[in-house]
Structure formats: C-alpha cells, structure tokens
Symmetry: C2
DNA sequence: TTCATGGACTGATCGACATCAGCTTTGCTG
DNA sequence: CAGCAAAGCTGATGTCGATCAGTCCATGAA
C-alpha cells in the first residue's frame, strides 16, 4: 500500500519522523474519500456542523465576503492540507470554502482525529506543527498585505506556493502548476485583477518569474527571494526536525 | 481565593461552563508570575526555546519587522490571552513580542498545559476554543487590511477591542481604556500615523467614536457596527455555548 | 460558421493614502 | 517652572494602485 505517498504523510514526514504505526493511523483517517467540482461552495459563512477534510488532490480557497461585494481570499489549500478544522471547533463556519479545481478530499470524523491524537502522540505533534505552520502563513500573508507593495507581495506569495508545493512533491526548483486565475490572485493579494496583471508582467520583464497558462516558472529564484524578503527557512527543511 | 476572577477564567467561562476542578487546574497554571516593563522586547524573531505566558494585566503586541524598516503589528494581547504558544510549538519565534504597558504574566510550563489537557478535557476544549477565536481574529484583521478602507478598518478594529475587553470585564457598552498610541494603531492597521490621526478625527466628527487620552468612548455603537460591518455574534455571547 | 463567455491584457484617469515638513500640546524631569 | 521628548495634529504635495472602458484571444455551445 502506498500510504507514505499521500500528500499529508509526505508533508508531516518532513516535520516529524513517522513510524509505521503513525502512517497506518494516518491511513485510517483517509477512509471516506469524496469529490467536489470546481466553483461550487463546499462550505459557506454561517453554516453549522460542518465536517473537516484532508485534501488529497486539487486546490481549494477559503475566503470572506464583505457587504460591499468585495472578497478577500484568506488562504488556498493544496494537497496535504486540512480543511475547515476551525469551523468544526467553532461549530459554525466564519468563512466560505470553494474548490478552485476539481477536488478529492477525505472526510475526517472528529472523534477519529482525537483518537489518533490520544494513541499516536508523535502524529499529534506533527499535526499541531502543521496547524501552527498554517497559522504562521496567514500571519505572513497579513504582513504582506499590510506592509509590502504589490510587487513584493506578489513575489512573496508565489514563492510561498513553491515552498508549500515542494513539501508534497508538486513543485521543483524551477516551477509548479498553478490553477489560479489573475482574479483569484487579486482577491488573495488585496489588489485589483488589472493591477495583478501589470505586476505579473513586470515580474516577467524583470526576468524573475513567469505566470502563464496555469504554470509558474521561477526564472531567478535568488532574485525573487531578495525582492520579496522571503525567509527560505520558514517553510522548508532538509529533514525531520524531530527524529 | 479569587480564582474565578482571573481574566482567563472569566473569558473561558463564557465559552464553556467550568467546574471547580477546571478552575483550580487553571489556577495551577498561574504559579510563576512575572513582570515586564513597557517597550522592552519580550521575545524577538529567531529566538529559540521561548516559554509561553498567560497575560494577567497590561497590553502586549506581536509584530514583524521588514527589511525596509516597516513594521506590521499582527495582534495585540490583552489580559486573559495566551502569549507565544505558537513559538513554543515551532521552537523558534517567527515574530517579536513587546509589552505596550507594564505587564504581569504567568509563565506556562508546557508540560503543565499538556497535563491540564489530559486531565480536564472540558478545560482543553475551552482553551482550543480560545485559540480558534484568536486565529479567527487574525483572519478578520487580514480581511480588513485587504479589503476595507481606512475608516471602516479602524472602526472595526476598535469595536473588536471593545468586544474582547468586555469578555474580561475591562470594557462597558460605552467604552474602554486603550493604551495604544496612534503610531501603534497605524502599524496594526497598515496605515501611516498621519492618516490614522485623520481617520480618528473623522470618526469623532461623525459622532461615532472618540479616541483620546488613552480612552475610547463609543458614541454611537449601532452607527459604528453599520459602518464597519461588524459581526456582533462572533466574539461575544450571552452565556457558555457548552453547558 | 457565428455567437457567447471568461480570462488575459492595456491605456487613461482618479482618488485614497503616503510622505514631508512643521506646529502644538502634554507630561515628565531636573 | 524651564526645558525637553513624545505624542498629537495639520497642510501641501506626491504616488501607488483602483476604476473605467475597452481590445484580443481562447474555448465551447448553437
């Protein structure tokens, strides 16, 4: 069985060395596989008693709508990420979740997860670690919107995707597939789509990065890192931190 | 003993009805009381093996610095809030923490906390709840910076403080003490101090809110809620959600 | 083929907020 | 109470990014 190739196992494995027992416990969480089509909300604000999921394939976005019609995308989830954990704790969702692409996800029964926590503390550590990392990413996103200009912000965001996708084997040093439209990118970055377009052109003309036809090509990694003040360490490690 | 008057107990009590056992467990976490003076960093980026704290009195801010000299304040902590929990999990802090005022805080030994989790599941639920709420606030903050203009953003932020402080008995319907300078507010809201000043004047002239001499007076609560699109439900409850 | 739709892309114009430079008030300390 | 630093406050000017108003190009349906 290909347990250790699930995106989540792969990601957690870089944080914490997982035993066979941990891996099979992870596998047990992946029972109820479900599919969703792009564009149809999976969860929306105010909905109660939602389940949590682990993303197996495809991209998803979490966003909030404002009464003036604007929307802010808070985060994108990629394979290996948890979905809607906070909504479960809160009992009522405070944001919407929409698949960007077609999506496969495993429904997580919350008692299964708590079971897993009690029986495999190593796994629990890894999951908490991943959750902290997710929160750190939201914080970094906030900092970017608050204090970085459009160019730095965009560069930083796209670098971050590279790092996240590499953890689950969906990116190389030179680039990754990215199903986002410029509109979505705009709603994530707090910009207008028009301006995102100009910024992407600028990044391309500066020879740093090419965002085209659903694919991001990193043309000059070091240049991007310098421009965006990207902290290489914070998302990516050489091996498990906890042996 | 005045256990149930600690800000944390008071806050958690509005989420989950706590037993005497829960309360005395909470009390045990409050052993090592420490003090800090305003303006001197308590934690800074990159520092490792930091401890966590529970804030007993005073205000604290968590922020990040960018190489261009800008800073973004991610969150303020008020009495009853946890401090630096993520840094503990991550082993190395990804942000700075600075007391805004003189501060009293209890150092939390992480094993004590895990003990408390194992022995008093109700308390554990409450703490997780509080942590989710903190995360929800950061998300709301991100949405504000990304998609609300300066006026709405400021109004929303100051309303949120009112709601948070009310939970620990430090605010009334009509206002609260707020030790923040306009500079700090600016760094939290992603604005310049000059603009914050103008926005505060505008709020005052609109008869909505007065921010002066360390005190915020809510002049027209409903007006503010309408302007800021503030969700009254999300921070404030009439009684424990979990009986 | 024609039409419709949605994303990418561009120029012109406008406005919200930043920056700069200076003044005033407050509160602290010698 | 004089002197000073820090915060509050304000006008003038500049700029980044929004908005408006399109064109161009794919894809897919009729």
């Amino acid at each position: 069985m290909m347990i250790e190739n699930s995106p989540l196992a792969r990601k957690l494995g870089t944080f914490v060395a997982l035993s066979d027992e941990d891996l099979s416990m992870l596998d047990r969480l992946h029972q109820r596989r479900r599919c969703f089509v792009a564009g149809v909300d999976l969860v929306h604000q105010g909905q109660t008693n939602q389940s949590a999921y682990i993303l197996a394939s495809g991209w998803v976005c979490s966003y909030k709508l404002l009464p003036n019609g604007a929307r802010q995308i808070v985060d994108f989830q990629i394979p290996g990420d948890f979905l809607g954990l906070r909504s479960v704790l809160f009992r009522t969702a405070d944001h919407n979740i929409e698949p960007v692409t077609q999506v496969e996800a495993s429904e997580v029964i919350i008692t299964d997860l708590l079971d897993a926590f009690a029986n495999t503390p190593r796994l629990a550590t890894a999951v908490l670690w991943a959750a902290s990392r997710d929160e750190a990413m939201v914080v970094e996103h906030l900092v970017g919107i608050g204090r970085r200009n459009a160019l730095e912000r965009t560069a930083h965001y796209l670098l971050e995707f590279g790092a996240r996708l590499k953890l689950v084997g969906l990116a190389t040093k030179t680039g990754y597939d990215c199903p986002l439209s410029q509109y979505m990118l705009a709603d994530a970055l707090g910009l207008s789509a028009v301006h995102v377009n100009r910024v992407l052109r600028q990044l391309r003309e500066m020879g740093l990065l090419t965002f085209q036809k659903g694919h991001v090509t990193i043309d000059d990694f070091d240049g991007l890192v310098a421009l965006a003040d990207f902290d290489k360490a914070y998302l990516d490690h050489d091996g498990p931190l906890l042996k």
